[in-house]
């Protein structure tokens, strides 16, 4: 085991604020240090994932205050899996954006990497914390760095997209704070495990109100239907790798917060049906919107929202199989969608409007990027030898075992829509003629490595889905077992204190 859970938050935050100073010593440190930090986080998180798989949950108490009073970090199979996934994606995004543009020099790069590290630290914090107010703070850290990164390019309409995101984010974080106030006024505790063990004492009216405010507060990061108005604009206007970071890191943290709340914190009986309904609405609205888009990144953004809808449908099935399918979908989406964003932003790199029709015929001129984009498209719609197939299959099996035939029908219909709009793009890449004035962009070596790692993972999971099944099984069992979670946290006083 390398490192400890608290280092996953402390080191990136420390490094983020040290970067301006280090940049004074040697400018290249601004680009190198984030890579080292993210690599450390990835290795540390993966090694702790292995430790957790063999030895059970790590609970870390901070500042010596034990569970119900102080803040604790919970590194269970589920949170370890998500933290590893996020830090890995953070590293990939760093690798891709190491010198991502010639005209991005020292000053913007400094800000970019500061906010990238804060984004990863905040998202990892959301996942591993065991305290709802602490989670609120991490949601805000993630949110503020996400607003800043959305507004990164001064030339585009990015400030507008960012302001829109900020407006929704600020209102929903107010809702989150109200939910925390309601819970604290009723139960007098902020610790998640303590809340879960006392939630039956809370009157039903307060419970439902708190749940609704919570969903409003977290739904914005999880891109559920009425709260996802920011997503298409933010994904379009933000730099390409940041779109990948949103899809691979921020959204996953939001989904985790949402399901932890529904599965562990609240015992409201209809909550699963709410998740299922929200998921279906999100899925259908987003996929029908995606097919009408003319900009490539906007289409990918709507597709990302739709995939999150599918994840919530899978969670809403409510069985162990459903949770397994949902986590599998999250894993695949976290790898495939960033690949699409990274390769897609290479494809439209030199075009003005970033329209889908501007990728015409690039297959001959940018063979490697085009192949990876096609691979990502095939994987995300769920063609058999690729990763997406197995997750979609497991969602359908889980729904079939519960006899939810209508849902299966809807998922299959929506998959057809998905196939239409992704294949439309792939078709344009390979079978149309290139516009005369468009210059193909040659990807840099680091970008090629980043994208091919993601492509390789898609193929590995696709041909051998068993490599991830143990981790996913442990994680889904962990999410379903609330009594064990409470016991782990509240009796952890002795174990790992520092």
């Amino acid at each position: 085991m390398v490192g400890s859970p608290v280092l996953l938050i402390a080191i990136p935050l420390l490094a983020a604020f040290m970067i301006p100073l280090l940049g004074m010593i040697w400018k290249e440190l601004v680009r190198i240090i984030p890579g080292l930090v993210l690599a450390f986080m990835m290795i540390s998180s993966a090694s702790m994932l292995m430790y957790v798989t063999n030895n059970g949950t790590i609970i870390q108490t901070l500042a010596g205050w034990e569970a119900p009073w102080g803040i604790n970090l919970v590194f269970s199979p589920l949170t370890a899996f998500l933290a590893t996934l996020m830090t890995f994606m953070g590293f990939i995004v760093w690798l891709y954006s190491y010198r991502f543009k010639r005209n991005v020099d020292f000053e913007p790069a400094k800000k970019y990497f500061i906010f990238l590290m804060m984004l990863v630290a905040g998202a990892v914090g959301i996942v591993i914390t065991g305290d709802i107010f602490n989670q609120f703070v991490f949601i805000e850290i993630t949110g503020i760095s996400a607003y800043a990164l959305t507004a990164f390019y001064t030339g585009r309409n990015s400030a507008e997209a960012s302001f829109k995101y900020l407006l929704m984010g600020a209102l929903s974080s107010s809702a989150l704070l109200i939910a925390i106030a309601i819970i604290y006024s009723q139960l007098g505790t902020l610790n998640m495990a303590d809340i879960a063990s006392k939630i039956h004492l809370m009157p039903a009216g307060y419970k439902v109100t708190a749940l609704i405010f919570f969903m409003m507060g977290i739904g914005i990061e999880a891109e559920i239907f009425p709260l996802n108005g920011w997503a298409p604009d933010a994904y379009t206007e933000a730099p390409g790798p940041i779109g990948a970071a949103f899809a691979g890191i921020v959204v996953k943290a939001g989904v985790y917060a949402m399901v932890r709340m529904v599965f562990t914190l609240f015992d409201v009986s209809g909550a699963m049906d709410i998740l299922l309904t929200i998921g279906l609405i999100t899925l259908i609205v987003a996929e029908t919107a995606a097919i009408r888009q003319e900009k490539l990144k906007r289409m990918l953004a709507y597709s990302s929202i739709g995939q999150m809808g599918l994840v919530f449908v899978a969670f809403g099935i409510g069985t162990l199989e459903g949770v397994y399918a949902a986590l599998f979908l999250m894993l695949n989406h976290a790898i495939i969608k960033p690949l699409l964003f990274l390769s897609g932003s290479q494809l439209v790199f030199n075009s003005k409007e970033k329209l889908i029709k501007e990728v015409n015929g690039l297959g001959k001129y940018m063979p490697f990027t085009a192949v990876l984009f096609a691979l990502g498209s095939f994987a995300i719609v769920g063609l058999p030898p690729f990763a997406g197939f197995w997750s979609k299959l497991s969602v359908l099996t889980a729904a079939a075992n519960e006899g939810m035939l209508l849902i299966i029908a809807l998922i299959l219909i929506v998959s057809v829509i998905e196939i239409v709009y992704y294949f439309r793009v792939v078709n344009r890449i390979y079978f149309f003629d290139k516009a005369e004035d468009l210059i193909p962009q040659k990807p840099r070596v680091n970008a090629v490595i980043a994208m091919s790692v993601l492509g390789a993972i898609i193929l590995i999971i696709g041909f051998n889905p068993d490599v991830v099944s143990t981790v996913l099984h442990n994680a889904s069992a962990d999410l379903m077992d609330t009594p064990q979670y409470i016991k782990n946290v509240l009796s952890a006083g002795q174990s790992l204190t520092n």
Binding site: F133, A148, L177
Partner: protein
């Protein structure tokens, strides 16, 4: 009698904080000027902070510190947790407002207006 007065006061504060939240929401959602929207967000934050503080208050409350003369004042000590939460939330609200205002400056430089209706490069 005194207790009743305290309860009335307490519900008055709850009502006041909820109306602050609603006023802020109204401002943030209906005003067309970017600056007024940011002010609305700050008012919402203020209302929530007041609500949190009101939750933790007790009658004739003192600071939750065992100081000379207050050894037996456990019943009267106000809950320190909501105050810690509010301190944190104020800092976060400050950061969000700062980011929002810097975005407003950027939008103003780009469009030379603060009216949200005239900034329509993206769909709202």
């Amino acid at each position: 009698m005194e207790n009743q007065m305290f309860e009335i006061l307490r519900y008055g504060i709850y009502g006041g904080s909820i109306s602050l939240i609603l006023i802020g929401l109204y401002a943030a959602l209906t005003k067309r000027s970017l600056i007024k929207i940011v002010i609305g967000l700050s008012i919402v934050d203020g209302g929530i902070h007041l609500l949190l503080i009101a939750i933790g208050y007790v009658k004739n409350g003192t600071a939750p510190i065992f100081s000379p003369g207050f050894e037996n004042a456990v019943d009267r000590m106000v809950d320190p947790v909501p105050q810690a939460l509010v301190l944190t939330a104020i800092v976060i609200g400050f950061a969000v407002t700062a980011v929002a205002l810097s975005l407003v400056i950027r939008l103003y430089r780009h469009h030379h207006t603060l009216e949200i209706d005239e900034i329509k490069n993206l769909k709202w």
